[in-house]
């Protein structure tokens, strides 16, 4: 009764959750202003789109993806052999356990009419599959511990999932080992299948089972007639029971718990463990849609959807956004992207986890679902997002086939819409004069952070620029100066930036378009007759600018010690300026 009720409860929670997640795909919109269509329209879009693809020739590709990416998990193999080994062990071990053991009475019994869970090879295989899962978890955990030294790419959700999985398997093994030594189960089975209370008849069987099947009885059977016991066993039990030794892991475990077997039998530990085992299984089942377990559904769907859509996807259409939502759900937080990310090394200098693609994706997902993030979080996401160079390596490497590149672009656009653009974006919202003015009003006496001085010295050290003779060659060769149209020439040219440095008026240069429009072509630096590292200095100024201007960027968001306020507390004039 408890079993049935809790099973159906867990199953319905699971189905409901899966439905919620899938409905979430149809509700995701990066930009509320995009007309992405109604929920019904998008749900029907999924349906018709899938039908159209499935009825086209692309179904061959989908089948190929199913075999290559889902069954053989080749993308994971590319990410590393041990990753693949761990995942194959867990995946196949668990799937086979579910089919052969959990659904044994339905699936296995259908194929093998004389199936019994205690019969070989089923008993041995069950142990084998369990061992595979445990082994896989062990390898995966070791791999994560190793990688965690570089990136903190293991979250609480990852640990929860691994822990639940391990608990299911360990409780199963414990249950089986306790069942092996259980005298009460023996008694009940004899009651059920021999239908006699006669100890004369039962005792030889008891003796036989105590010896051959390692059941631990509280009182020794009176008869030691093993021959009779064996005959009785073959008549009544052998059809359903193989020797416990083939349950190699559980059996070893039962030998270990042997000394406490009597006590375990008395408290009916087998019943308790049975409740615990299926309880955990049902908890895991109910949690499936809400944890990383969901990737069991989302990743194969995504891999097949990708194969189905191929290159014919139309960016920006409602169906495409639906698919992007599915992709975001397909992340298993495996961290492969972060391992291959071109800019991940920056994380060691700037400890912002949003630089790592595996972590940034969570923030971008929140953005896509329209969540209101606080300013600090948004700033961190913005920094991480715009450090990304869109080099495509994460997308190429993702074992779940997520087109991360597209998501990063969408994320960047969303950040711009929410007024958290990249430094190029926000610095240009004000003119050089306005920035200098703001810095002046909000003079922050705190010296520049020492840790950063290590990485930039060109613009700090007078020796780098004092040799400038203002000959204007840098300005002459500068393509940015040459390309500036009449509307918006740089307020200062490279040689004038050098002069500002010489006059110790660095603040005036920080927000200048020359500094921010520089394309780092190094023409100025190469042509400078004085050998001044002009480009390096301009680049340096950007780094300083980000650090110095960021705090005064939002006048209303921060009140300085001297209580300064600017003329434009709500930033109303910002757009007029840019």
């Amino acid at each position: 009764m408890v079993f049935t009720v809790s099973f159906y409860l867990a199953l319905s929670i699971c189905f409901f959750g899966v439905f919620l997640r899938m409905a979430g795909w149809a509700r995701t919109e990066f930009d509320p202003q995009d007309s992405v269509g109604s929920l019904v329209r998008r749900l029907s879009g999924i349906f018709t789109g899938s039908l159209r693809i499935l009825s086209s020739r692309r179904i061959v590709w989908i089948a190929a993806a199913l075999i290559r990416d889902v069954f053989l998990q080749i993308p994971l193999l590319r990410a590393g052999f041990f990753r693949w080994l761990a995942h194959m062990c867990i995946f196949y071990g668990f799937v086979l356990l579910v089919m052969m053991h959990a659904l044994g009475s339905i699936i296995t019994a259908f194929f093998f009419p004389d199936y019994a869970s205690t019969l070989d090879p089923f008993m041995m295989l069950r142990n084998l599959f369990g061992a595979m899962v445990l082994f896989g978890i062990l390898v995966a955990a070791l791999g994560r511990m190793r990688r965690n030294r570089f990136f903190r790419a293991t979250s609480r959700s990852d640990r929860l999932v691994m822990f639940l999985l391990a608990l299911v398997i360990v409780s199963g093994f414990l249950l089986e080992s306790v069942q092996i030594v259980s005298a009460p189960i023996f008694d009940q089975m004899v009651d059920d299948y021999m239908g006699t209370d006669d100890t004369e008849i039962r005792d030889p069987l008891k003796a036989y089972w105590a010896k051959e099947f390692y059941v631990v009885f509280s009182e020794q059977p009176s008869s030691q007639d093993l021959e009779t016991g064996q005959t009785l066993h073959e008549e009544n039990c052998a059809a359903c029971h193989s020797r416990p030794g083939s349950a190699f892991l559980s059996f070893s475990l039962s030998r270990l718990v042997g000394p406490w077997a009597l006590w375990l039998n008395r408290v009916r530990a087998d019943i308790w463990l049975w409740y615990i085992h299926f309880g955990i299984c049902f908890v895991a089942l109910a949690l499936l849609p809400f944890t990383k377990f969901f990737h069991l559904i989302s990743v194969p769907l995504n891999l097949m959807a990708r194969a189905g859509v191929g290159l014919s996807s139309h960016p920006g259409t409602p169906d495409d956004i639906t698919r992007l939502a599915l992709e975001m759900d397909a992340c298993t937080h495996c961290g492969v992207c972060s391992l291959h990310c071109s800019v991940a090394p920056i994380f060691r200098i700037i400890p912002n986890t949003n630089i790592l693609p595996s972590e940034k994706l969570m923030s971008v997902t929140q953005l896509a679902h329209g969540k209101q993030l606080d300013a600090t979080h948004l700033e961190a996401v913005s920094e991480g997002s715009f450090i990304c160079t869109e080099c495509f390596r994460c997308t190429e490497r993702c074992p779940s086939g997520i087109s991360l590149q597209t998501l990063w672009r969408k994320g960047k656009q969303t950040l711009i819409d929410r007024d958290y653009p990249d430094p190029h974006g926000w610095v240009r919202q004000l003119t050089t004069d306005q920035w200098a003015d703001r810095l002046d009003r909000c003079r922050d006496n705190k010296p520049l952070c020492d840790t950063f001085n290590r990485y930039r010295h060109a613009a700090q050290d007078p020796n780098t620029f004092s040799a400038c003779i203002q000959c204007s060659i840098c300005t002459n060769v500068c393509p940015v100066v040459a390309a500036a149209d009449g509307m918006m020439p740089p307020e200062v040219t490279p040689q004038q930036v050098m002069n500002l440095l010489r006059l110790n008026l660095k603040e005036l240069a920080l927000g200048s378009r020359m500094v921010w429009d520089c394309v780092t072509c190094y023409l100025c630096q190469e042509h400078c007759p004085q050998g001044i590292r002009v480009t390096d200095i301009l680049y340096d100024l950007r780094n300083i600018a980000v650090e110095r201007l960021q705090p005064v960027r939002r006048p209303s968001s921060r009140v300085h010690p001297d209580g300064c306020k600017t003329d434009d507390p709500h930033g109303k004039n910002r757009n007029e300026v840019s």
């Binding site: 300005t475 002459n476 190469e526 042509h527």
Partner: protein
């Protein structure tokens, strides 16, 4: 310790890629000497593009345009026997010019020379400049000035450091036929010479310019424009304008850095690099120079850090004076930066300059530099050559004030020529 993986062997290492160094590399290559040329070319942009020989001597008579430059050279060397021109025969100076200008012509940068006489042209300040070799784009500048023909001077809206009106105002008394006008090109924003030159290479911009100029023409015979008519040496911007306007067009040299210097820099960079026998290491510098027992120089070089080792049987030091960083002035005196060679200089810092900034005699510091023997070998404190295979050329030499004497081009070419010949002579005697 300096470690460099790449090693280059050569006969001659020329240190300094200014006019003297480039010319030395060219002359050496023409004589079949395997040469490495190393140095920054940036300073070439500061050359006016004109090649002076000697504007006149004594300097106070420089405005006496009737003098033959060769007579001036003779008077100069008689008066100042230590002047670098005294180390070389006048025919060799002619040869140096001929050889260098032939090279420039070969690579598309034509010059106009009147051989026996100097040429005088109008500058962007309205002053007159006496020179010896003139880029052909400025040839009509001399013609128009000489004949005082009616001439329309054009300047561009937004172009810095150039005003046609200023030239006209300065010269109008002696040249009443001058008129000036301002035209707008492109968006009419603030222009620096190089971007403007780039833009003028566009035929549609040329057509617009011709239209704009026509509106101002009142029957003038010449049209003078700032020296921004195209960047590349072989540029035919001027020819295109002449064809469309049906009038001779000339360039007026501007304040450096300007296009004629840049064109010189571009052709030298491009065509010396491609020349047989020359290896160029532009924008790199010799960081350390040592000499082995068999008199070979071992130089470590690179762009700021050692990346290449050069083994050379001889060196021509053409690293220039202060701007070229061949000499370095400190509070205690002036030193040579690479070999720490003795520098001829005023005895104390207080004697570097006259009190009068525009003193007609110039400032003593402008005569500072290396003294050499007649084979261009820098002398040590004992009056003997420091190394028998180290030569010097160009402005780093002592006893000349090229800016005041207007002899920069001639000095660079002739001393480079002399130094290369001295190296050849040294090599032939040592191999005998």
């Amino acid at each position: 310790m300096i470690v460099a993986e790449n090693c280059i062997h050569c006969d001659l290492l020329v240190i300094g890629a200014g006019l003297a160094g480039s010319a030395a590399a060219l002359f050496a290559a023409n004589r079949g000497i395997s040469t490495v040329l190393i140095g920054r070319t940036g300073n070439l942009q500061f050359t006016s593009g004109l090649l002076d020989l000697l504007a006149g001597y004594p300097v106070e008579d420089a405005n006496d345009f009737s003098q033959s430059p060769w007579e001036s050279v003779a008077r100069l060397t008689a008066d100042i026997p230590m002047h670098p021109f005294a180390l070389i025969d006048p025919p060799e100076i002619r040869q140096a010019f001929t050889e260098f200008l032939a090279f420039l012509s070969e690579v598309g940068l034509d010059y106009y020379v009147e051989t026996e006489r100097n040429i005088r042209i109008v500058t962007s300040l309205g002053t007159l400049k006496t020179t010896y070799a003139l880029p052909t784009s400025m040839r009509h500048n001399a013609t128009a000035l000489k004949e005082k023909q009616p001439c329309l001077l054009i300047d561009f809206e937004g172009l810095k450091g150039y005003s046609a009106c200023q030239i006209r105002e300065t010269l109008t008394r002696s040249w009443p036929g001058l008129r000036s006008a301002r035209v707008a090109v492109g968006s009419g924003r603030e222009y620096y010479p190089q971007p403007l030159a780039d833009e003028l290479e566009n035929p549609s911009v040329q057509t617009d310019l011709v239209k704009a100029i026509r509106q101002h023409l009142r029957g003038e015979a010449f049209i003078g424009l700032p020296a921004v008519l195209g960047l590349s040496a072989a540029s035919n911007v001027r020819q295109a304008l002449e064809k469309q306007l049906g009038l001779p067009v000339f360039e007026i040299p501007m304040l450096p850095p300007s296009l004629p210097g840049l064109r010189m820099k571009e052709v030298l960079e491009k065509h010396l690099s491609g020349r047989k026998g020359v290896k160029t290491l532009f924008q790199q510098e010799v960081l350390e120079a040592n000499r082995t027992e068999d008199q070979t120089f071992i130089c470590h070089a690179g762009p700021g850090e050692p990346m290449v080792t050069i083994e050379a049987r001889g060196i021509i030091l053409a690293s220039g004076r202060f701007f070229g960083k061949g000499l370095h002035a400190t509070r205690k005196g002036i030193r040579e930066t690479l070999f720490n060679l003795p520098v001829k200089q005023p005895e104390s810092r207080s004697l570097w300059h006259h009190e009068d900034l525009l003193h007609p005699q110039g400032h003593p510091i402008n005569l500072a530099g290396l003294e050499t023997d007649k084979h261009f070998r820098p002398l040590g404190n004992d009056g003997q050559p420091v190394y028998r295979n180290l030569f010097a050329a160009g402005t780093i030499l002592a006893h000349h004030d090229w800016m005041r004497m207007k002899c920069g081009g001639g000095l660079a070419l002739s001393t480079a020529f002399g130094a290369v010949n001295a190296f050849l002579k040294m090599r032939s005697t040592s191999s005998n």
